[in-house]
Amino acid sequence: MDFLTMIQVLDSTVRLATPLLLACLAGLFSERAGIFDIGLEGKMLAAAFFSAAIAAMTGSVWLGLLAGIAASLVLSAIHGLASITFRGNQLISGVAINFLAAGMTVLIAQSWFKQGGRTPSLMGGGRFNPIELPFAEALSTVPFLGPIYAELISGHSILVYVAFACVPATWWLLFRTRFGLRLRAVGENPAAVDTAGVSVVGLRFAAVAICGLLCGIAGAYLATGLQAGFVKDMTAGRGFIALAALIFAKWRPWYALSACLLFGFLQAIALRYQNIDLWAFTVPVQVMDALPYILTVVILAGFVGKAIPPRAGGEPYVKER
């Protein structure tokens, strides 16, 4: 692999890691507060559809983004209502959201656009276009660092930069602010938060809302940044890969970045090298495509060290002595 190819693969790694990273951080907020969320997938999918649909209708990608976030927040609210207010089972609520989104998006897409469950292709202002960072053109001739800056760092859409900025922001919010302290506490021991006179329900809803916001951005990026429009099931399990990355990252923001980049890298390799020749035999493209998912299974099976989830995760809070 020569230098330029490597830059290109890494460049596509960054783009593919972006939705994973946003979803992973979304899950991080929710699970750190004690609400397991396997509905990341569904929220992203709903956001992808509504952002593409509104962007196609209005021609404004920003309105599309808002619509995507709104759709994701609505699903988050349902999850919150089911698992916080009514103390239901968080896994079942999450599964329901995934099914709801998978069916609803295609149905509405067909009803609105009559294109077989997809939205029209987005063009011009309907998409998030790459942003050229200053001096990218001028510096591209500098050996080594030039291409890295011009190709790898510059030239992504705004949402990519937002996603990467979310990592330090999340870290700062969680570990340096009052809100973060309380959020982490409510995922570990809600009784401690309750007896300290802070609302467990309020904190958990706040966390679920942030989760909805980030999933909304992730979905919107899929349909309006990475691709140009919505197609059926376009999230392709990214919500679940994000969950695996979250476990891999042990619920920490910076680790989440590394984990998502790893998954993004595998996806980029699969995209770039359809068939890999290894000595005598050829690795078929299907194997490459399956790699991120195989890694997910391996991680979830617990081969990668001990990951301790937030202690109160998955359990509704009920007062007791």
Binding site: F179, R182, N189, A192
Partner: protein, 510 residues
């Protein structure tokens, strides 16, 4: 003292469903004193304090703090009123540092750094003022239980609490840690803080409190000056005198030894030794009653005998050793050896409340060939068997298809008794046989126990009701602090002597 009481509760009542946890409770606690609240498990002490801390809402009643009527709808309001609470089970975030736990919910602003710095400073001050040394940067789960408790106290003090409630604070502490705690509490009292100490340990009350209130079955039975009472007097108030029930009993025809226990010890999962090397035996045709204030190791003794927990020492039944820790240390192996167990808490260990009576009757004996039909359960046979047992034990209504929770407490207990007694065991372990049971059922249950004895079975009875011990037992052993204080013949002792023994005092020249 002419000042207003630090806390005054007037007519507090609280019910959980049909259970009246607190009945019309009134209490006054003067500032700068340590006020003990003593009572058995389930007497309603913790409920009362949870109401004071805003964790539960009282159905009726008023709270006055420093003479002013105060509404405490939630913990926030309690903290604002200067009340701090140290729960029996700590409310700490275990993987946070001490400092983080202390500022949680009491942060000064949106950013942590200034709050942490301020807390670090006041922690140093509090440490020197009250002798409460804790490393502020330690992770809570790495601290000893005693230090974790200090963090809870510091949390309250950091929030400027003037009134400190401690719920069973020594339950998890070693004796040394407990001594340190009481030194700290005395220091706090000297500084003018008001302390409410909830416990069921008589000695702690005698040693540390200024006044003491006794609770029994949701009611406040007395409030006295500690200096004007005695452990025996308190024990009597706690356990309470009831109408003395009489059971016609012929003298015991004692046979061979059925149960032998030698040097039995039990260490619970927190590492606290609950049973400390006790030895006893029970003979055929005899009821050995074990008296004691709840929480002195009786429950653990029953559990290890019943195969629920493991222990060390020797247990022999009919001369043969019982496996205490290995593969055959479980309820089923015990039953195979002729041991039947009626557990103390029938709703948690005796029955599954959402299952029907016939399903409950099969538990533990579900592998009985009479209950099988090939590889399937013969449910019709179990139902018929259950109905017959229900008739014999006068369970009302005798309907095997009714779920356990729909029976009254007495009838639930009869179902458990029928299941265990009808198996014709050599040894019956029975704990609190009549707790929460109405008078009529008490009589019936007592008669069944005596009838089993007269069939030549050995019976080990654990009860916190002294009357019950006197009525049923042929011999009485008193447990205190995991040890047996002595054996007595019920005909040659009285409540006063047993009361003292239950408080850990044995009169040598008796």
């Amino acid at each position: 003292m002419t000042s207003a009481p630090a806390i005054e509760l007037k007519g507090i009542s609280k019910a959980f469903g049909p259970v009246q946890a607190n009945k019309d409770i009134s209490i006054r606690v003067m500032p700068g004193t340590i006020h003990g609240i003593i009572g058995e498990n389930g007497a309603g002490k913790s409920t009362l304090m949870s109401i004071l801390y805003g964790f539960y809402k009282a159905d009726k009643g008023e709270i006055f703090i420093g003479g002013k009527k105060t509404l405490i709808p939630d913990s926030q309001a309690a903290i604002a009123a200067g009340i701090g609470m140290v729960f029996q089970h700590f409310k700490l975030v275990e993987n946070f540092t001490v400092l983080e736990n202390i500022i949680l919910g009491a942060e000064d602003g949106a950013l942590l750094r200034p709050s942490l710095a301020k807390a670090r400073q006041s922690l140093t001050d509090l440490a020197s003022e009250y002798g409460l040394d804790v490393d502020p940067d330690a992770i809570v789960e790495n601290l000893s239980v005693g230090h974790q408790q200090r963090v809870e106290i510091l949390k309250a003090l950091y929030r400027q609490a003037d009134i400190l409630i401690l719920d069973e604070p020594t339950g998890v502490l070693t004796p040394t840690e407990a001594d340190q705690l009481f030194r700290i509490l005395n220091r706090l009292r000297e500084e003018g803080k008001t302390i409410i100490l909830i416990t069921h340990k008589l000695r702690e009350i005698m040693d540390t409190t200024d006044t003491v209130s006794v609770m029994r079955r949701g009611e406040m039975t007395a409030t006295v000056k500690t200096s004007e009472t005695s452990p025996a007097g308190l024990a009597e108030l706690m356990v309470g005198r009831k109408v003395l029930l009489q059971v016609d009993k012929v003298p015991a025809k004692v046979g061979a030894t059925v149960l032998e226990v030698e040097n039995l010890s039990v260490i619970d999962d927190k590492g606290v030794e609950r049973v400390k090397g006790i030895s006893l035996d029970v003979k055929a045709g005899e009821i050995l009653g074990i008296a004691g204030v709840a929480g002195n190791g009786q429950s653990e003794l029953l559990e290890v005998l019943g195969g629920i927990t493991s222990g060390t020492g020797i247990i022999r039944v009919n001369g043969q050793d019982i496996d205490l820790t290995g593969k055959f240390s479980d309820g089923r192996s015990r039953r195979a050896r002729g041991i039947a167990h009626v557990p103390e808490d029938r709703q948690r260990e005796g029955l599954i409340m959402d299952y029907m009576a016939w399903e409950n009757t099969a538990f533990g004996y579900h592998h009985d060939p009479a209950y099988q039909s090939g590889i399937l359960m013969n449910n019709a046979a179990i139902r018929a068997d259950t109905e017959a047992k229900m008739q014999r034990f006068d369970v009302r209504p005798p309907n095997p298809k009714l779920t356990a929770k729909n029976f009254s407490g007495g009838n639930q207990q009869k179902i458990v008794l029928a299941r265990e007694i009808e198996r014709n065991p050599d040894l019956l372990l029975i704990g609190q046989p009549t707790r929460g049971v109405d008078i009529g059922a008490i009589e019936f249950i007592h008669k069944q126990i005596v009838a089993l004895r007269d069939q030549g079975k050995a019976i080990l009875l654990v009860s916190v009701e002294l009357d019950e011990i006197f009525v049923l037992s042929d011999r009485v052993a008193v447990m205190f602090d995991g040890k047996i204080m002595g054996f007595r013949d019920p005909a040659q002792t009285d409540e006063k002597e047993l009361g003292l023994m239950m408080a850990g005092i044995v009169e040598e020249a008796a």
